[in-house]
Symmetry: C2
Subunit: 186 residues, 2 copies
């Protein structure tokens, strides 16, 4: 499949396809969006919110939430705010998310059945890595959004004038439901 993409890319370059997307690295709308890696959102979310290339910084992980205040998602938001002019942040989880109800034991079993050595898993635990916590999903999407918005608003390195709002997008209709209305950090 990667080869197919590389062939598409060669054709795209030959046709000078990039010309219509010319823009800068600064987000025209001053917005950063934290959302899910979900396949359905790749086209639906930009269409449902009227986002074009150049408009926003788009940060994506499994679930579209932040569980660790010092991971790459939070780091990305700080870069967006302090280096790239972002003044508003949207956290957008979605309906029917794979991370909702994700079970670490089920995933560890899947790893073992694909050849990951059980001894290695034990070794990691004895190195202090809590795989069960790390691989645990969220049970309540609305609560997960609230917690992420709180984490961003109260992060000790976040500028107090940045506006943060939390939403859930319906993957069938594209409708955005506000969970936490956009307001500034502190």
């Amino acid at each position: 499949m990667i080869e197919e993409m590389l062939r598409h890319n060669a054709q795209f370059i030959q046709e000078d396809g990039a010309r219509r997307f010319a823009t800068s690295k600064y987000p025209d709308k001053g917005i950063a969006i934290v959302t899910c890696m979900d396949t359905r959102l790749v086209e639906l979310l930009p269409a449902a919110l009227g986002i074009r290339g150049g408009d926003v910084k788009m940060i994506k992980n499994a679930g579209g939430t932040i569980t660790n205040p010092f991971d790459s998602t939070m780091r990305s938001l700080l870069v967006a705010v302090y280096e790239l002019g972002v003044t508003e942040i949207m956290v957008i989880a979605h309906t029917d998310c794979g991370v909702q109800g994700m079970n670490p034991h089920h995933m560890l079993d899947a790893m073992r059945s694909r050849g990951v050595d059980d001894e290695h898993i034990s070794l990691m635990k004895h190195c202090g890595i809590d795989l069960e916590a790390w691989l645990h999903g969220f049970d309540d999407t609305e609560l997960a959004v609230r917690e992420t918005v709180d984490l961003i608003r109260n992060h000790p390195l976040m500028a107090a004038d940045v506006t943060v709002g939390g939403y859930i997008i319906n993957t069938d209709t594209g409708a955005l439901t506000p969970i936490c209305r956009a307001s500034s950090a502190r």
Copy 2:
């Protein structure tokens, strides 16, 4: 700006705009892409690779690389592989990236000038949080891609049959340059 997006969304729903994006949560192409949150890539990258909604899991952070084997980006890849049928992974950094040459001292100064208390920064250091390492960018994009591909291929929880390749996309032309040819984990 968020309000403008919410107005667009209301219009989108009224016009039943989501109908043409109907698909499932499973990626049709079996690919997960780790790439940058950059504004330019929002439209350019899918167009340059021929990606439509439903095709891939799209994971995005500042820089499009992974520096920590237990952060949310790596977790997202494991979810993609073990829960969602992903068999190929592409790491796609890009030219003119804001994270290349990012200076933690410059960013900490920006934080102070926006009202983050210097005492809080000191306190965090004394809690063992190495902000300078966390906020440091990469100096060499190609090397950063190679390191990320290595990290994924050799991650103790990654299935050995997953193919991983590393690339740099040119933000002016959309051209993808292979850095590490796609090959399986171990």
